[in-house]
Amino acid sequence: MKSDRFFIALTSAALAAVALMLISLILVVVYRGMGTYWVSTIHEFEMKDSKKVLGAITDVAQSKKHPEKLRYQIKVGNRDLYGLDFRWIEEEEIANRSIPTEAWCIERMEYGNFYASSAEYLEEEKEWLLKDVSGREVKVHAEHVVRIYQNNQMNVFEKGILYVDKWFELLTEEPREANTEGGLYPAIFGTILLIFVMSIVSFPFGVIAAIYMREYAKDGIVLRAVRVAVNNLAGIPSIVFGIFGLGFFVYRIGGGIDNVLFSDTLPTPTFGTGGLLWASVTLGLLTVPVVIVSTEEALSVIPKGIREGSLALGANKLQTLVKVLIPMASPGILTGFILAMTRAAGEVAPLMMTGVVKLAPSLPLDGEFPFIHLDRKFMHLGFHIYDIGFQSPNVEAAMPMVFVTTLLLLTIVISMTSGAIFLRNYMRRKYTSSHL
């Protein structure tokens, strides 16, 4: 009996461990993502060798040289002067630290932030004259300044306004500085448009195939084999769909279209290269099994009596389907749609082969005829995470952006999943109460 309690504690600890991992993942993403745009305090450090460092503290760790002391990671900015945005300083070597009220932070179009001890606007040249902590001067044209503020003089309210403003910029602006600064608008737009086109491809066909399998096809060995195969396809790695999309859609079908319709622009491919259309179709194929399985499930839980009742009242099969079965199955079908969309939003591997790029020159939707350009390359939040987190030349400077992107993607995916769960519970309640 004593050991009973131990094993119960052990199994509950396993569940607690899983929950802890999930919570810590979400907390890290939320904390780092939400915190990125909060205006930080600028510190000035006077080192023992009388050099000065000005910047915001971004990380604290145990010192390796002096294990009992700490070391700080400082974002010093001023990439055009120092080469690197970040540096580590040892607590041991700090002689004096202060929070200078005069310090400026200047967000620039190029070279990232500038942390200045003093700033002066030159009216005639329309330039800002900035001095770094050691007195070196840099002139920045007013047009190249995104924002300029004095961190240590701002109150919570002012910081809050700036915070909201930066989020607004993120959602509506184009990226700058090799995607490490600025907005995410093209990536958000690309993700949504991708899901939208994918849905157009996947949903009608998936639902019709499921209706065929459940309501029209003769039950037998063939149907059962097809069902197993479709179930299997739902579990096949997405990279397999990706390589299929590249080999079949992009090179064969796209190449074929180019040969017939766009032969005058060859060898520059139009459809024979990755693009939004092929990525959407590939994702559509990836999600069709999900839609089929959930639609079939939704149709199969409808009691037989309802079908018979409808037919007995004189409705034919189509009328039964359209007026009775589909409305009844709609919450289940909708759940399948949302799950498919969630999967499409989170998949990156197939997109890497079928047309996602780190920086698309133009959106796939614009005012130019025919308005929607499905052959264009596009940007995607998930690929953005991979790209700036792993392919960026300055990973440390990119980290805040990666966390913000992750937060955004996670928010989209989790809210869609919650919607699906809510819908399913609603459907369950509806049918368990009215079971015939």
């Binding site: 309690r5 131990f6 119960i8 479709v230 034919n316 989170g346």
Partner: protein
Amino acid sequence: MSDPSLYKKKQRHDAIAKWLISVIGVGTILSVLAIILVIFLEIIPLFTSNTLYDKGKLELPNDIVLTSMGPWFEKSLALDKKGELHIYDLKSKTKEKTLSFARGEHQITEAFLGLDDAVTIRWSDHALTRINLGFKPTFDNQSQRTIVFNSKTQKELVTHSSPIKYGRSAQNDDGMSVFAAITVSGKLEIQTITKEENFLGEVEESKTKYLAPSESKFSHVAINESGNRLFTITEDGILEFWDIKTKKLISRGHLRFDLAERQITALTSMLGVDEAAIAFDNGDLQVAALASVDGGYLQPVIIHDVKVSDSKIEKLVSSPRNRTLFVVNEENEIIAWYSTNHRTLMQTKLEQKVDSLSISSRGHGISLLQDGNMTMWHWDSPHPEAGFKAFFGEIWYAGYDKPSYTWQSSSGSNDFESKISLVPLIYGSIKGAIYAMLFSVPLSVFAALYTSVFAGARVRSIIKPIIEMMSAIPSVVVGFLGALWLAPIVDGHLLDMVVAFPLGILILALLPIVMGQVKGRDLMMLKPGVVLIVSGMGLILSFVIGMPISSAIESSLFDGDFRNWLIEFLGGSYDMRNSIIIGITLGFAVIPIIYTISEDSISSVPKGLLSASLALGATPWQTAWRVVLPAASPGIFAAVTLGLGRAVGETMIVLMATGNTPIMNVNIFEGFRALSANIAVEMPEAPVGGTLYRTLFLSAGVLLIFTSVLNTITEMVRHRLSKTYSKL
């Protein structure tokens, strides 16, 4: 139905709908299933598709000693005994012109076409001539292409004092021509011609002559394409590799063939710098390369040894483009054999005797000299380096010290031997999946057991959607956090983790006892939610207590650096993005799958079994462990197989959280390269339709088969399980 026409109309709609739904439904299902077909269609050419196309015959003048095809099937050459080179146009099948390389009365006794498209001619007066036979395309104003014989054809001559029986030549990167000859008495003589422009702009020619100081007599010699290696075989069967610049043997060791069993019939250089092929009179074919076996010094060793023919090999010609060897045997059979993967690409028997065989410089034109006439073939072999052995077998690659499974698909040099073994990648996928399983299976099965047996309906209704949420987290997010956030943390807290694990178990064991002391706080009596929170705090506590303990242990036992000690103790190397990170991140990604299916199957164990067990006096844990778990075990097995399938196919996590080096070892502190990540890494660089492209499709096919098998097993087990339960 008051209106019969309306009824009819409705019936017609019904029929149309039925037809439409059937067509679209079947079409959708078929196109989804067509994925499998398309992938396999891309794979098949790897294993087939070696074709010979007949390009016709040419009637030639008398006394032809050598024929060759130009690189684009538009021109061909024939060299006669007097040194006249006849150039033919293949469209009109007429002679275009004749170039004379004749040396008066002297006749050609042998002509050998080398890999560098230059012919070495041995004359009756013991002289050797080297002629570059290049063709090049030229374009006129209408960009019409014509192939012309290279006007800069270079001709060089060396003479020998004594009669020679064997002669080869090559040119190295510095423009130095090398001639190697074996005299009738078996001496090896090397002559070089260097042309240098002096400061006046005149070309100065300097010649050197060198006689190899060897006791034994030489029988065969070959020079590699880049003119820096000489391969020799002596009459007593010793193979040696020489460096031409230093005139020294490459290695102290040598290789001796037992000539009692079989006689050497031919020696040729191959595409690689240090590779030579040797043919024997019993049909054996061997490839020798330099290697230091067992850490010894570098010496020639046989890396491939295969019997390709049943009778004596008479001619041996190497392709200038890849490692294909063409063999003509005594029975006039022509065999094309690829050395790396031991694959026989083609075998064809001819009626007439083959006097000479040559391969065009692009490797796809074969010309045969038979009875004074020229037979021309187009040799189409797009994927010679592929094959079952290449993908799954252990191969001794040139330049390697032992046979190995290696993935290295591309390199800058053109004599590169592509190494396309899928074994290290499959190994990597399985290694990652196993570490992920080790992490996730105990956690998720225990968690599922707790949820469905001990936790009440309330906790379950909260936990299940949370786990579902967890399964929706995109893998790119998990991979990114694993690589850039978790990896540095784990890196700094290795010993903490080692200490915290037993400490956590200890705390969990003590927890019920401590709680039992407080009245009304017995674990069995508490609400499940509280138990969960308490045990979660216990886990956190184990780290809080563990960290000071581990730093004390670290400074006293491991000189303050546990990681260094561990690397030295285990050997091997240490990557920050190692298999621990993969275990945790990939495990995290498959926990929802394993948990959900295990939980389903545990919950569906008939309640009667539980009640019966409890009624017979078993404790709740005994019931859970001895009754519920065995009853649900097929379902848990299904959950684990499905999780394994997901772990093997997952791409982004393994791409981001490992170093992606294709190595094979079980070391938990090293990374690997998985099949799926390999596709993502290499596909952008793979030319469409090439061997790498198709090989990546093959990897996708392997993944497809693997996951399908696992999914099918899962489905079958679950199906059988639900049948069994429905009987109870």
